[in-house]
């Protein structure tokens, strides 16, 4: 499902240049739940954004479901993100003026099943948010916020889910819920899930663990 070959990414130039990714190669098959571990600043987020069709690598190649998103123009790449990818962030990144239902539905894309076949309600029920439909993010707990973010990420049935420290701000119970949900999605829906974390608690749940250090995969 996901193939990355020899990805390199450097920020800045000259003496101030920071090499965030250095010859990173990895692959995640459909149905796999893979953890990317590493200390802060090791390039995990850069890797996630590069794999997520948002940050073009300086060199190397990314393929999601056989398509290299960086060969697409900006508009097609946006469509690619909407239909093939799902994102979960540590800070949730919900839209503050939309309620729970709208935050989940805002990712819906025409021509997909997202939001059009009761998918929104299904996900809301799956994540136990039925009683919070009209609430805005400011009125939710952190766990609820992350569940809304998860529901939004899974709305369009993406083939690849990229989660950046999704449990970083959560208590144990909510963290367990999120990790379980991601793992279940990989298993049940046959998607590839890549979760970046520095928390060793989730290693047992992973099918595979990728360790990173100074921009390299060890």
């Amino acid at each position: 499902m996901l193939r990355a070959e020899s990805l390199c990414k450097t920020y800045g130039r000259g003496a101030k240049a920071v090499r965030a990714l250095s010859e990173v190669s990895l692959s995640v098959d459909a149905g796999q739940f893979v953890l990317v571990r590493g200390a802060s600043g090791c390039g995990k987020t850069t890797l996630l954004l590069t794999l997520g069709a948002m940050l073009a690598p300086d060199s190397g190649r990314v393929e999601v479901g056989g398509t290299d998103p960086y060969t697409l123009n900006d508009e097609a790449r946006a469509g690619f993100r909407a239909t093939r990818l799902g994102f979960v962030f540590q800070q949730f990144y919900l839209i503050p003026y939309l309620n729970v239902r709208e935050n989940v539905a805002c990712a819906a894309v025409k021509g997909t099943n997202g939001g059009g076949d009761g998918r929104v309600e299904e996900l809301i029920a799956r994540f136990g948010l039925e009683g919070r439909l009209e609430h805005r993010p400011a009125e939710l707990s952190t766990g609820e916020k992350q569940r809304v973010a998860l529901a939004r990420a899974l709305l369009n049935r993406p083939r690849l889910v990229l989660a950046d420290e999704p449990t970083g701000n959560l208590d144990e119970a909510n963290a367990q819920t999120v990790v379980k949900a991601l793992k279940d999605y990989a298993r049940e829906d046959g998607a590839a899930v890549l979760m970046v974390t520095h928390d060793p608690r989730w290693e047992a749940a992973a099918d595979r663990i990728v360790c990173m250090e100074y921009g390299r995969v060890l």
Partner: protein, 422 residues
């Protein structure tokens, strides 16, 4: 999710930003509408004022014409047709002549206003036999009477060899009908004496025209023609008859002779012209005032539009900056740059529309209730102005927010998420 829903939610979420934009656009639209509506009120009010003055002037002119017509029918007036070279400062001392047939020519023209035509040859001369100045007048009497048989001649013809002295002469010299008098070597018999007239005719002696031409050695010549007891059907005819006679008899000019009516007509005509001139002056003043208002309006409208566009542009800019993370999230979720641009343009245009509608409504209510309570609502409520304002506000809002919207579309989601993720 539909852009409209997203836009409305955000508008309601950041009310102050939206309200500031709406107020700016409302001020611009209100100013534009106010300028146009005030101009309409000005046009309507001044037009009514001028129309009432035009009506009053027309009424006064009609009364004047009617009075003149009555006066003319009652009084009549006299014209004297002279050689153009004749010195008018001494019209009684006739020295210039014209062909005698001018009398017949004028008679043949049968001008409606002229009742009697009297050609004459006149000369002020010294009467050596009586040692005094007299005015000798040779005449054929009336050469033309319009209603012959119904009107009596104004000047009686004098038979050859006869003389008709004026009152001062026959009274002063004690002349009686039948008495022979010698005049410059010619002998005449006094036919009758004239009644006292109280003006220069009292110093005249009328004789036959041919005899006068022989005496003065001016055969076939006359000094002028009296058109006596003329009647005009209106003051315009009185004031234009001069030109018509002068065109008919080349080399002549026409003066009014002992006519109070002419003076009255001229005074009244002048007054009427002055009234017309005053009306024209007020119309010019109105045009100038209107032009001033149009100039002020055409200066004000672009200024307020620019100011509103500036405010809306700054507000959109600020909104883009504030929503940078949100733009990054939406881009990460698959929103295209074009949708992001459309989102900001649509918001600015919605603010423009609401602002324009509010500004137009406020301008209508303010102008109607404050300055034009007497004007009908139809003057203010019509489709063209609001349509122009709404259309203009859409264009203005789109133009003002174009650059900020482009900036929003250009936001790199990866950079935003990297920075925010810190």
């Amino acid at each position: 999710m539909k852009l409209g829903t997203l836009m409305v939610r955000e508008l309601l979420h950041r009310k102050v930003n939206a309200l500031a934009g709406i107020l700016a656009m409302a001020a611009a639209a209100g100013a534009c509408a106010g300028v146009v509506l005030l101009l309409r009120v000005f046009d309507a009010q001044t037009e009514r004022l001028l129309a009432s003055r035009r009506t009053a002037s027309a009424k006064a002119w009609a009364i004047f014409q009617d009075e003149m017509r009555k006066d003319m029918l009652r009084l009549g007036f006299n014209l004297m047709i002279l050689n153009r070279e004749q010195n008018l400062s001494t019209p009684d001392e006739q020295t210039k002549t014209m062909p005698e047939e001018y009398g017949a020519k004028l008679a043949a023209a049968k001008l409606a206003e002229i009742n009697h035509i009297v050609p004459f040859l006149q000369r002020k001369l010294w009467w050596p036999e009586k040692s005094r100045w007299i005015t000798l007048v040779g005449t054929t009497g009336d050469a033309y009477i319009k209603a012959f048989g119904k009107q009596t001649p104004m000047v009686q013809a004098v038979a050859p060899g006869k003389a008709v002295p004026g009152y001062a002469i026959h009274k002063g010299l004690g002349l009686v009908p039948g008495q022979k008098i010698a005049l410059g070597g010619w002998t005449f018999e006094v036919a009758r004496g004239l009644e006292q007239r109280g003006f220069e005719e009292d110093e005249m002696i009328y004789i036959d025209l041919r005899t006068a031409q022989d005496m003065l050695k001016l055969p076939g010549k006359i000094n002028g023609i009296l058109a006596v007891n003329c009647v005009c059907v209106g003051p315009e005819a009185l004031l234009t008859i001069r030109k018509r006679v002068e065109a008919l008899l080349p080399g002549t000019r026409v003066i009014e002779h002992n006519s109070k009516l002419v003076t009255r007509a001229e005074v009244r005509g002048k007054a009427a012209k002055e009234a017309d001139a005053e009306l024209a002056r007020q119309e010019r003043l109105r045009t100038e005032l209107r032009a001033g208002r149009v100039t002020a309006g055409t200066t004000l409208i672009p200024l307020v539009a620019l100011a509103a566009a500036f405010v809306l542009g700054v507000l959109t800019w600020e909104n883009v900056g504030r929503r940078r993370l949100e733009i990054g999230i939406l881009r990460a979720l698959g929103f295209t740059a074009r949708r992001i641009q459309a989102l900001f343009l649509a918001k600015a245009m919605a603010i423009g529309l609401v602002g324009a509608a509010a500004g137009y409504g406020a301008a209508v209510v303010a102008v109607k209730l404050w300055l034009a309570t007497g004007e009908p609502w139809e003057m203010f409520v019509e489709p063209l102005l609001p349509a122009l304002l709404l259309g203009g506000s859409l264009v203005l809002a789109a133009a003002a927010s174009w650059i900020p919207a482009q900036l929003a579309a250009g936001v790199d989601p990866a950079m935003v998420l990297l920075q925010e993720g810190g």
